[in-house]
């Protein structure tokens, strides 16, 4: 009897467990949601825009590639005015051995990041029309997704090819407008002109959709009509449609007056700056993007790398009255510090990131007028900015276009325009040794705040030629961002 009851127990247990086995293995993640829970209401769908944005800015690919903003740092590291140190980070971009090498992490990181944003926008745009909810909100969310996609295509157009004048019909990068699925094949590259056309078409579609959207003043990361107008101004300028660039440039800066001279010295770390049109704020708990300041910030002790030292020659472009001149300082070690970027809260390693501000819009307007033959209006726009910076107005000496391009370098140093300006204008990187008239290293007596005067051996550019030892020249392939090897290997259509 005992034995039988034992057997019975065994059978019952076995059967009982069998019954629940299918549910038993039905587990669900707690840190991710299925897509049908995202695209079920308009409010939930909005999280897809926030999330894509947060991915874009706050993802470390490595500590030297802290998200989208580091593209801008790469752009300046590959220009003329940053004399990068050998510290960790952008040193290989600076010497032009990184972005040319399609096996490097930075190369694949930027490509992946830009296209992941594009696909998330494509997915959003394909779903949003069928999501129940408020149509007004649907409209501007759509506008935001289109603008975000346009930003990726504009970035591709800016760094992966030279300008439209010389290379407009050169195949540059593929365009995707539908969301990817497991069967999606890689597409062939579109031309540079097609990339700009896509950018402009997205933005022109977005602008009316964003018209009624009034973003909260503290949320400058949200895309509104000013952001879309600013991107459109860039796209027209970069693609050579100068006449069309001025209107959106003016529209973009409407309501964002140029900052005062004190604000210029506050470290470029605060999204509440009146001139900032678009930016990403950071907090102690969300500060991946802020870690770009570890490279940009050369004066706050907490910054890890402080590698973005200025070229000593760069200082010579400024008049002493210019408010920007106050940011220069020579360190004991001989580095030319341009203290434009400083952590806002060093203890928490927090600083906000600027993406677009009025000064750039004035410069776009000026350049667009200059290039379309309206030197007078160009001068006005340029001088509006120069006046605000307490620099003497441009009075017609020298080429107005060259003056504007130099003013861009001066005003937008560290904000990511160096390389893209060189590429689109067919310009060249210029790096001269910092030597005295005898060809020797410059040793300069420098007064320090503690009252001492020290003879300092001032450090300039450490790389004065391309890796193949040839001098810097226009249209060098070393300037271009390369397409990663994984794309070439896995996309048979890429070069079709």
């Amino acid at each position: 009897m005992k034995k039988n009851s034992r057997l019975l127990f065994a059978i019952i247990t076995t059967v009982a467990l069998t019954a629940c086995s299918k549910d038993f293995v039905n587990t669900r993640p707690t840190n991710a949601v299925p897509d049908d829970q995202v695209f079920n209401t308009i409010d939930n769908a909005e999280t897809a825009i926030n999330g894509t944005w947060a991915y874009m800015f706050d993802t470390y690919f490595t500590f030297a590639v802290p998200g989208y903003k580091s593209i801008h740092l790469t752009s300046d590291a590959m220009g003329s005015d940053v004399a990068l140190t050998t510290s960790y980070g952008f040193r290989d971009a600076y010497t032009f051995i990184e972005m040319v090498d399609n096996t490097k992490n930075r190369v694949s990181a930027y490509w992946t990041l830009l296209y992941k944003v594009i696909d998330n926008c494509n997915l959003f745009l394909s779903k949003i029309d069928n999501v129940p909810g408020d149509d007004a909100k649907r409209k501007y969310l759509k506008g935001q997704a289109l603008t975000l996609r346009a930003n990726s295509y504009l970035t591709l157009a800016s760094f992966y090819q030279f300008g439209v004048n010389t290379n407009g019909n050169t195949k540059t990068a593929p365009i995707y407008l539908e969301p990817s699925n497991p069967g999606t094949q890689g597409k062939s590259k579109s031309t540079l002109i097609q990339l700009y056309q896509q950018t402009i078409s997205d933005l022109e579609t977005a602008i009316p959709l964003l018209g009624q959207y009034d973003r909260p003043a503290t949320m400058k990361y949200k895309i509104d009509v000013h952001v879309a107008q600013g991107l459109l101004a860039r796209a027209y300028l970069y693609s050579g449609q100068y006449a069309k660039a001025t209107t959106p440039a003016v529209a973009a800066r409407d309501g964002y007056p140029l900052m005062g001279s004190d604000d210029y010295n506050k470290g470029f770390n605060d999204i509440s700056n009146q001139e900032w049109i678009w930016g990403q704020a950071q907090t102690p708990t969300q500060n991946v993007a802020a870690s770009n300041f570890n490279f940009l910030d050369v004066s706050t002790p907490v910054a890890y790398y402080k590698s973005f030292k200025a070229d000593p020659w760069f200082r010579g472009y400024f008049e002493s009255s210019d408010v920007r001149t106050r940011l220069f300082e020579v360190s004991h070690a001989g580095h030319m510090l341009y203290k434009k970027f400083r952590f806002r809260d060093p203890g928490a390693m927090v600083a906000d990131l600027v993406l677009m501000r009025s000064a750039e819009m004035y410069l776009i307007e000026a350049e667009a007028y200059a290039r379309s033959g309206n030197a007078g209006k160009a001068k006005d726009a340029l001088n509006a900015l120069r006046t605000a910076r307490n620099a003497s107005p441009y009075n017609g000496n020298g080429s107005v276009t060259d003056t504007i391009l130099l003013e861009r370098r001066k005003e937008l140093w560290g904000e990511g325009f160096s390389l893209s300006d060189i590429l689109r204008t067919g310009g060249t990187v210029v790096r001269k040794p910092f030597v005295n008239f005898q060809g020797k290293d410059s040793i300069i007596p420098v007064p320090f705040p503690d009252g001492t005067i020290d003879s300092v051996h001032v450090i300039g550019h450490r790389t004065l030629a391309l890796p193949d030892k040839s001098p810097f020249k226009p249209f060098s392939n070393y300037y271009l961002f390369s397409i990663p090897l994984s794309e070439l290997q896995n996309n048979p259509n890429i070069n079709n």
Partner: protein, 1029 residues
Amino acid sequence: MLQRLLIILLLLGPLAAYSQVRTVTGTIVSAKEKEPLPGATIVVKGSTKGTVSGPDGSFRLEVTDPAATTLVISYIGMVPQEVPVSTTPLRIELQASGKNLDEYVVIAYGTAKKSSYTGSVSQIKSDELVDRQVSSVSKALQGLAAGVQSASQSGQPGTDASIRIRGVGSINASADPLYVVDGVPYGGNLSAINPFDIESISVLKDAASSALYGSRGANGVIIITTKKGKVKGSRIDARVSQGFSKRAVKNYETVGTDDYFQMYWRAMFNTQLANNRDSLTAARNASAGLVDELGINPYGSKYPQPVGTDGKLVAGAVPLWNDDWDKAMQRTGHRTEANLSISGATDNTRYFISGGYLDDQGIYLGSGFKRYNVRSNIDIDARKWLKVGLNLSAAHSDQQAPPSEDSRSDNYINYGRLMGPMYPIYVRDPNTGAYKLDANGKRVFDYGDYRPDPANPRTNLVQTSGIDRHDTIRDDVSARVYAEATLWKGLKFKTSYSADYSNRQAHDYTNPTLGFDAEVGGTVSKGSFKYFSWTFNNILTYETTFNEKHHLNLLAGQEAYKSTYSFEVGNKSGFSVPGLDEPAGAALISNFDGYRDSYALTSYLGRAEYDYLGKYFFSASLRGDRSSRFAPGKNLGTFWSLGASWKATEEDFLKNSSWLNLLTLRASYGGQGNDNLGATRYYNYLPLFVVNSNLGQGGTYRNALYNPDLKWETNLNLNAGVDFSMFDNRFGGTVEFFIRKSKDLLFSRPKPPSIGYPTIDENIGALKNTGVELTLNAVPVRTKDFSWQVSLNMTHYKNKITELPQAEIISGTKKLMVGRSIYDFYIREWAGVDPKTGTALWHYTNKDGSISDTSNYSAATQYYSGSSLPDVYGGLTNTFNYKGFSLSFLIVYSLGGKVLDNDYTFLMGTGSAGGRAWSKEMLNAWTPSNRNTDVPQLTTVTNNFTANSTRFLYDASYARLKSVNLSYNLPKSLMEKAHLNNITVYVQGENLFTLYNHKGMDPEQTVGGTTYYRYPAVKSVSAGINLSF
């Protein structure tokens, strides 16, 4: 013991002659483990009369022949012993004769006799583990079992070695074996298991042995079985050992201050030349700028320009200090271990209770491991038909594990290694070199805010390693409870519930006043990571013999498994006041996160084993698993095996062979699975959005493409082997051949990143591992007092990709192609240094196929450059016994294969990282007078000279004296006076000697052949005593 026997012999010898029928009784035990030997034969010498010992090792034999004087006691795998016939109860201890060939081995859901088992199992016994100075049992497996590849990449106390059984059958899914403790998959930490508690470790390598573990068995199974009480009465064992440890192999050789200054001068000079200065200006600028660039003048203010324009130190300049930071970051580690166990049995209870303590201090400052263990294993015969048992163990460990597998600048291993020798550890007088002392007369640590970035300014880990914390505190509790009922003759039902709970608390703290995080006021991170897993299973077994010829053993059962992982972690910074190291003391929250995840399996399993006359053995097994890792409809997998063996020595024509003791041929085939894509990718069958947020607003985004068709990766294993033993079991071994094919690989298939996602998980591709394993055991010398045993194992295998979704896939330093191995390096090929210019060259292949050199790294061609897999690896154990002395040593070896040493590249920089230490090899850098060299010229400009290429690919062959043990058993006569069973004193050494090629790098690196700034292996010497009473 021997003396007692002799006395017995003297006393009883004469008496015996007068008896007609003498009854001899006694117990037969193994000499080493003191455990009863059931099935030993006791034969009257010169006759065929005899008996076999019972389950408790006891026997009773009636000797009718009055002339008989001697009994021969034998047991397979043991040295036969002759004892005089006596009527006093005997206790006979048999010595092992090398590796035991007819042992019982623990297998999936049971045990089997090794000599006839159809599957492939290697067993490691407790005596091979117990003396080892390791804190994780995984580190003791190396070299002891054929087919097992163990890499102890880290010498950090308390870390595990990574184990690979018969190669790697997966490209993206896990290659780790399944660990089973006391019959059930183990969810705790390996380092929580005290090696002292381990009875045996079985390594299951083929399908017949591991298919019963189904979806988790593809990478092989390691079964750890803990000790049980066996012998009636109680026995107490105590072990205490003390030891010391140091780095096993020397660090890379680096240059001193004098060489450093002259080399850095050269680097600056070359940079100036490259920037088109004339050589006089260049030399002047280099001499003038040198001290500024390096931030320090260790030659004193008397020599403001210590290196002249000729690039040489100026006359009279002598460095006032030349510090060795690497040495300063290290110390002699100290190790203490103590274990105590009480084990035994009563009529219906068997028990083993133990406690252990380990304090293993690391050789680097701020590292170490402490562990406290308790265990209680109890089996009770509750009724004649019912057995119940409970194994309960708990461990608490406290590991100090500073960053050591990371490229971050506070990596404790790199910190000292990479610091230039001209930077003083303590503040010095810049003119005299005298130490600056504080008010208490103590030296003051130098935080070097003058040091350039590569030399970590404002830090001094030599001091802060004693203040900061990098602690991992683990608590592990494991329970195994079972009840086994005999329902009918041979029909048993066993139900068991097992649970493993493991909590890991990570506590990292950097202080607010000194070093790396002083600027942010210190940081603290505290996290709690909890793992709980349970297994409930119900197994019916039936064993019967019919017609005295057919033996049948059946097993059927059902099992459910669930594991839940949950964590929360928070980070804060900005301590209000110094001296606090918990989050409560810090002001600013910088991170808080946590989530929970579960993994569940339900399974059915069955096995049938049949043998005919103990000659022909057949086995078959089947298991069905339903897993939570795949979509409904795809989540049911079936795994199976078939095996057969033929014990040829049971055949009449071999049975009476005078020299051959055992010959078994066996083969098996079957399929196991692998569902382990890694903890972060459980749900790739669902269209998921990752949840994040932006500035307090909720966010989601798509980070990966999903694949609803994902299913198991399947391994198909073929195993064929021969076991043999001959010459009184003095020579024997096993030869096995295996083909391990894996298909439907859980593969991260590359996609063009422009579609948004660089990979998608699919079941594609196939791999094949083919190999041979050889194990040989011999007893070359065996006399009364002296014996010498040798055991050798070697494994050779090849890994081959047999199917890929596309022609080639480059991943990191490897390229996958059909016909190649997943371990084939695919990197640029170093072509040396251009004698004309001193720049580095690499090869590239022109369109016409010819090969040229290029100085443009990114234009160089990548080539297949050899494999990280060794040609052959294994271990060699020698044991010598002389009277009470025993000397044994284990040599492990790995021959062939390559390693890409990225650690070394840091020391081989060309000068762009001023302040970082330089390897001595850099002294040979190119100069116009030293043109034929393999080291490019020095320069302060960053370049690709140290980028991945064959320049840093080295031969990974090595042989290492893994362990040496010299022990002495005190004589019995002394023991008895002290009421002790046994006293052994011993001296033990680990990693004492290493033969290897590439100096500076510890040769034990990952199976994949890459380095990652890891804590190097340590060598240790310790002495201990074992008491048994």
